[in-house]
């Protein structure tokens, strides 16, 4: 039997949840969807009539080349982050509990300095007189300083640096729970170390791998400040294009259309994520 105050509490909490999700989560995204079908207005940003022209703007060859280049960068960033993060996370997840907490804390600590500032600090490392060139010349590996800063390579380095923790944390969530007896069982059944790794450990950690890849790939398309700080004039990424549509050109409908295309792409990746297994499902923290 519910008492009336309990009933009141339940109602109040549920109303709060519906209003919060309605106004702050669903309405904004529906608005972007609507805006992508509207026309541009110089004063109010948006006006009728409805049309599909904004999506036609997506096929612009110049925009296409930016998108393809950006996808390439995001793909390389994701792959590189995964290759660095997987062994690292696998190692630290095997330490005793009190050390693991410390290792995890050490991953979080750099976040307290805003990522914009940390990317700016990369300039001192990658510039012509920077740390990296100085070391390479001192060790005699090169005689002339390399042109690293303000290139696509610098943007790639910045992306890997910024997004590496977002690969480590979801991987950690699955690898921490890995039952080592499974490995022993695999070996008892005659699997070699390599086979055991690829046929037991990797499938179990697949949800963490997909979550990490999503959390790296999508930001790698959109962190425009990394390419602003470290890149050349032609290092624009998808995020820079969206930013320019909203802030510089003030063409909201086209900006919204690119945003919707990105959202559809994200939902496709999320679909893959849910299909990759339910061990990291909705009720589990992804990190």
């Amino acid at each position: 039997m519910l008492k009336s105050t309990d009933n009141f509490c339940r109602q109040a909490v549920l109303y709060f949840i519906f209003i919060w999700f309605g106004i702050m989560v669903f309405a904004p995204n529906l608005l972007v969807l609507l805006a992508s079908f509207l026309s541009r207005d110089p004063v109010w940003y948006l006006r009728l009539p409805l049309n599909l022209q904004n999506y036609a703007a997506l096929s612009d060859p110049q925009l296409m080349s930016v998108i393809l280049k950006s996808l390439n960068l995001a793909f390389c960033t994701t792959l590189f982050c995964l290759l660095i993060a997987y062994p690292f996370t696998y190692f630290i997840a095997r330490f005793a509990k009190e050390y693991r907490a410390l290792f995890l804390m050490l991953i979080i600590v750099p976040f307290w300095t805003n990522s914009l500032i940390r990317n700016y600090a990369l300039i001192s490392i990658l510039s012509e007189n920077g740390l990296l060139n100085t070391f390479l010349i001192k060790w005699g590996l090169i005689s002339q300083p390399l042109k690293l800063l303000y290139t696509d390579l610098a943007v790639f380095v910045g992306m890997v640096y910024t997004l590496l923790p977002f690969m480590i944390l979801p991987l950690y969530a699955v690898l921490e729970k890995l039952d080592l007896n499974l490995l022993e069982a695999a070996e008892d059944l005659g699997a070699g170390a390599t086979a055991a790794f690829f046929r037991v450990i990797v499938p179990i950690s697949l949800p963490g791998i997909t979550a990490g890849c999503i959390m790296v790939f999508l930001p790698a398309l959109t962190l425009f400040y990394v390419s602003d700080i470290l890149g050349a004039a032609d290092s624009a990424i998808v995020g820079s294009v969206i930013r320019d549509q909203f802030v510089v050109i003030k063409d909201w409908p086209v900006g919204a259309a690119i945003n919707i295309a990105l959202t559809i792409f994200m939902l496709f990746l999320l679909h893959l994520y849910y299909k990759s297994g339910n061990s990291v499902d909705q009720e589990q923290p992804i990190w």
Partner: protein, 256 residues
């Protein structure tokens, strides 16, 4: 043995990569030149010039205040939602669950743009309120999942025996659940604070000129070149947050 050493070297190398930019920032805050890449000797002059740079200090204080406020409101919202998901069955529950991970996985630019559009349409001027609401939106799911994970480990009989002994829902939450989930609530707060401090893109869209937070101020300085007193500020902030978080971490552990 060799494999062990290689393993430790590898772990150390990854941490080195994560920390080198921070170390560079700290080292160059003591550099006796405004050069960002050549060492010219030790000085404290950037810390002195920082003390007179009111607008820079103010933007840093605004960032800290925003992060603390956003962490607190996300913790309240996130915890309420976690408890409701745990205790109640309601229509749309699966949608709420699903949206949590969608919010956590969606890139900031999608959230930033959708939020700025709703604020402009509703006529809310861009500034502290819009920053606070937006930061709460992208942080609360992290609180909810952390608290939910903890709630799953709470023995359901505890709440039931509370109810049998005549406790109301509010009493059960107040006297049974909240004390049990407190560590997760604290972890959620810390997570939200961290995410809020680190955010650039959402703040870029929903922030306003009259409440300029540190990353936006620095972003506007990037084109013209950043003065080393920014390095000094970042070094000081880093140590300050480090000390505060370590102290509160020890405090919470001592209480448990």
């Amino acid at each position: 043995m060799v494999r062990r050493i290689l393993k430790y070297l590898y772990i150390a190398a990854v941490y080195l990569v994560l920390y080198v930019p921070l170390l560079v920032t700290i080292v160059f805050s003591f550099n006796n030149s405004s050069s960002a890449d050549i060492w010219h000797g030790f000085t404290l002059k950037w810390y002195e010039s920082l003390l007179t740079d009111k607008s820079l200090i103010n933007s840093a204080l605004r960032s800290l205040f925003l992060a603390a406020a956003a962490a607190t409101s996300s913790t309240v919202v996130g915890t309420i939602i976690a408890i409701a998901l745990h205790r109640y069955r309601f229509i749309g529950q699966r949608v709420v669950y699903g949206s949590l991970s969608v919010i956590m996985l969606s890139p900031e630019i999608i959230q930033g743009i959708s939020l700025v559009m709703i604020f402009v349409i509703l006529g809310i001027p861009l500034g502290f309120v819009t920053l606070l609401l937006s930061h709460t939106v992208f942080c609360f799911p992290f609180v909810t999942v952390t608290v939910l994970a903890r709630l799953k480990g709470v023995n359901r009989n505890l709440a039931e025996s509370g109810a049998d002994l005549g406790a109301s829902d509010v009493d059960i939450v107040r006297f049974i659940l909240i004390p049990l989930i407190l560590p997760a609530v604290f972890a959620g707060w810390l997570m939200s604070f961290t995410l809020s401090i680190d955010d650039v893109i959402i703040s870029f869209f929903v922030g306003g000129k009259e409440y300029e937070i540190l990353p936006l101020k620095i972003y506007s300085m990037v084109q013209t070149g950043i003065q080393p007193d920014v390095n000094a500020l970042c070094a000081a902030l880093f140590f300050a947050t480090f000390v505060v978080v370590m102290l509160s971490y020890r405090l919470v552990r001592a209480k448990r």
